[in-house]
Amino acid sequence: MSTLAVHDHGLVHHEEGHEHHHKATFLNTYVFSQDHKMIAKQFLITGITMAFIGMLLSLLFRIQLAYPDKSFPLLETLLGRFAPGGRLSPDFYMSLVTIHGTIMVFFVLTAGLSGTFANLLIPLQIGARDMASPFVNMLSYWFFLIASIIMVSAFFVEKGPASGGWTIYPPLSALPTAMPGSAEGMTLWLISMVCFIASSLMGGINYVSTVLNMRTKGMDLWKMPLTVWALFLTAVLGVLAFPVLVAGVVLLIFDRSFGTSFYLSDIVLNGKVMPFEGGSPILFQHLFWFLGHPEVYIIIMPAMGISSEVMSVNSRKPIFGYHAMVYSLIGITVLSFIVWGHHMFVTGMNPFLGGVFMITTLIIAVPSAVKTFNWLATLWRGNIRFTPAMLFAIGMVSFFISGGLTGIFLGNAALDINLHDTYFVVAHFHLVMGSAAIFGMLAGVYHWFPKMFRRMMDDRLGYLHVWVTFVGAYLVFFPMHFMGLEGVPRRYYAITEFHQWDHWLNVNTFITWAAIMSGFAQVAFIINFVYSIFWGKKTVQNPWNANTLEWTAPIEHIHGNWIGELPTVYRWPYDYSKPGHEEDFIPQNVPFSQTMSSNMPHDFEDNPEGLEEFNKWTSTQKANEEVK
């Protein structure tokens, strides 16, 4: 591809491009497209599809939890042997929990979120014509799609999909006879994950190299929007962490299929003494969480970046403490590699190691706190415009606070003893990385919908969507904390076997209905989304009066993003409501020479010539005033 060369000869390339361009067929425009904007849409739509599948699975097991003794003939009709007599079977319940977790964590919030917005925003916001390697980018999507199909296809094998929890701890996942889901279902899970990781790596390498090499003129690192920073650091995390999961998965495949004992030792299953010796189940947990913990930051950081951008645009105010925001993202990136052990406090890991991981874990709360305070300071004295995207970004902050604070309990090894693997954990991570990240993603969808589909989404349906989902998510997850405090374990098919928990049955029913309500709110979203793609109101070029470069690109999608030369960047992306300027925004490609009345000495910190000009201008201004 000639994309690297276009950097300098953008104009030339473009004119040539039209002549040499392949004929735009349905196949190369919509299916095997190498255009980053189309790939972003492919990721988004696949991600949303997976999100709906994941949500339906969660509603199924929520019904079981709310009505553990009731039979629903419809379930048997729909699910057949998985729900004999209209009640989910315990094994299938485990499968639902497992696949719900896997889909949401990996397919929706990793690929769906990073895949969509890194593809859409990185080239558009740094002023590049496409990704560094469009072909690899396309492959990344196709691997993701294959992985998704394999993951869902596990529902059609006889013994059902993987059911050892999304963390697939061996020996449960390594011994096909340990539970039905550990048979073919688990094999499919592992194959799917390998494809997924390949996809994620190809994407990640592309994002990193695009950000590092293909920024337009003037776009130095400290002029990049926070979205690009967040997506860039996410990609770095993914590239470094995902290969470790491949190692873990491959060893698991060896244990399952080739009789090795990496994770297995001293096992007597169903009265049969197994020949495995010398392995350690804890080893898998180390490998898994070495990815698994960075993974939760892979999920939340793009959401943070998107929310920062959306909140700044809609408060009409620069993001507060841009540098601190970037440094805290970097801090989170680095620290996220040394905290994985906090998932393993009670697993039999050396207690001293647990203490060390506790220290690193609580340190990571500091950059998170800084980010929260900076968001609040961004809102302070703003001129806040409530678009649906803005409300989602706010919801993200609210969830991040609520869920983040309970992290302080769980990060404390001593408290984790009693909270580990209870509903408290479920509540914590569903708020801090589940709901927060999905809200960040939805904020992005609403905000950049005009960029993606050239039309606007309906605001009022958006309002309905955001409020019902926001309230619903709190109603679902807030009471779960207290179930956890009573020690109700997660992944229990029913809590009716223990009569001391009978008073939680009502709460469980309530949670299920709240979840169903939030599920219905997503119908409003999907109607809005599909309708607006085809029949929504046409957008103007810069519907939100935003500063970033993507809004300087023409509405009409062209391969190469900009007609003619690439825009040059002169300023940071957050010059909103700058005093002395008539409008309340100054796009990044507006030179300082055009905004003399609003310039500040601070704008010329690393630009002595500009500072001289600025001083000259201010002194003449002063002189003029004196004359008057």
């Binding site: 079977s89 701890y169 189940p281 507060f320 001129n383 806040i384 404390n412 693997d421 409501s577």
Partner: protein
């Protein structure tokens, strides 16, 4: 756009509708056919009853959607008439700001309600010595986080309401303020340091499970889907285990070459003497399980191939707890808290804390693992292996 053409073309729509109709017709026909072939009238009744039930809910959902759509249209019409009459249209922005305020108030009340009502439904006071430290740690953390929770949420939604958009003013251009940023980096850092230091020492003391003289060692072994208990006999020592020796009779794989194992006792209930130091030796046979006794603030995974330990002192007897919770049926329980298969949700063991004398009475009644049957089996095996060793001149150490 090719897609749009496809969607807007009437032919395609018609085709789609036809296939849907035909398809659903087919499905329904099948359902009916199935109903009739199964012959049993109650079955048909049940299935048709099911479908009417489903239909009822689907209709209900559709009606709800319709109502919302109609409401939306009414709002739109109202909005249009307002503009036509030259009045200001609905200010959605202010409406959202008000909703933020309403959410803040309702949310804070909801959180308060949840904390008081559901918060009081949680565990009773700790029944173990170390649990008291954990609980005070928990209370400290709760107090700190609740303060931060309320302040930040109030600020968040308060700002949203207070600084809602207005044409009259511009936002305040404030890119950064180093002093305040330093303050809110350092304050959380200090608070977290305090929590880390306290947490670290609590953790170290709780997790210290070195075997001391006077500890009662009890084996807890998890397998799909039950717990096995092993108490030491009069010698106070547990014998060695070797998983390779596991058979139907010797279900834990106790190594009877070790003299200490001769008097090891089996039990159905985890009976513990109050105020004695108990050391649980936790094993798993097949997959990972987790010994979870929330009343004692105790949890430790059971890992195959890696024995783990947890040492604690129970301080409240079951009887005391019964009177304290006003629940005559109260029992301490041990759950499995690591996903271990289909019946994971029902892998329980009753734990009973009793006085020293009751404990002695109880343990005297427990039967040893070394049953007569097992003795015989071992004898036969020993004879066989020695014969085998002699004949084939091999070392038969393990079997």
């Amino acid at each position: 756009m090719g897609f749009k053409k496809l969607l807007t073309s009437k032919k395609a729509l018609l085709l789609f509708a036809a296939t849907m109709l035909f398809g659903s017709h087919q499905l329904m026909a099948q359902a009916v056919a199935q109903g009739t072939t199964t012959a049993g009238t109650p079955d048909t009744m049940a299935s048709s009853g099911m479908w009417t039930g489903v239909l009822y809910y689907v209709l209900l959902a559709l009606v709800a959607c319709f109502c919302i759509a109609i409401l939306g249209k009414i709002l739109k019409v109202y909005d249009l008439t307002l503009t036509m009459q030259g009045k200001k249209p609905i200010n959605w922005n202010s409406f959202m700001a008000i909703l933020c305020l309403v959410f803040l108030i309702a949310g804070l009340y909801g959180a308060y309600w949840s904390l008081t009502v559901q918060g009081s439904m949680t565990l009773p006071k700790s029944a173990s010595a170390h649990g008291v430290d954990i609980d005070s740690m928990f209370n400290l953390t709760s107090a700190l986080t609740l303060i931060v929770f309320v302040i930040t949420q109030v600020l968040l939604f308060g700002f949203l309401f207070y600084y809602r958009a207005s044409d009259k003013r511009k936002a305040y251009f404030l890119p950064h303020n180093n002093t305040i940023e330093k303050v809110w980096t350092i304050i959380p850092a200090i608070v977290l340091t305090v929590l880390v230091v306290f947490g670290f020492f609590t953790w170290q003391s709780v997790e210290n499970s070195t075997n001391m003289k006077g500890d009662i060692n009890i084996d807890v072994t998890g397998h799909q889907f039950a717990w096995e208990l092993r108490y030491p006999g009069p010698d106070g020592k547990l014998g060695q285990l070797d998983y390779r020796l596991t058979t139907g009779l010797n279900k834990l794989g106790i190594d009877y070459k070790d003299r200490n194992s001769y008097d090891d006792l089996q039990a159905d209930t985890l009976v513990l003497p109050v105020n004695k130091s108990i050391r649980l030796n936790i094993h798993a046979q097949d997959v990972i399980h987790s010994v979870f006794m929330p009343h004692f603030r105790l949890q430790q995974n059971a890992v195959p191939g890696l024995p783990t330990y947890f040492k604690f002192v129970p301080t409240v007897t079951t009887d005391q707890m019964r009177s304290e919770t006003n629940n005559p049926k109260f029992e301490y329980l041990l759950y499995c808290n690591k996903i271990c298969g289909g019946i994971h949700y029902n892998m329980q063991k009753v734990v009973r804390v009793v006085s020293e004398s009751e404990y002695q009475d109880w343990i005297a009644k427990q039967k040893p693992y070394l049953t007569d049957q097992l003795k015989q089996q071992l004898k036969v095996a020993a004879a066989k292996s020695s014969a085998g060793a002699l004949s084939s001149n091999k070392l038969a150490l393990n079997n």
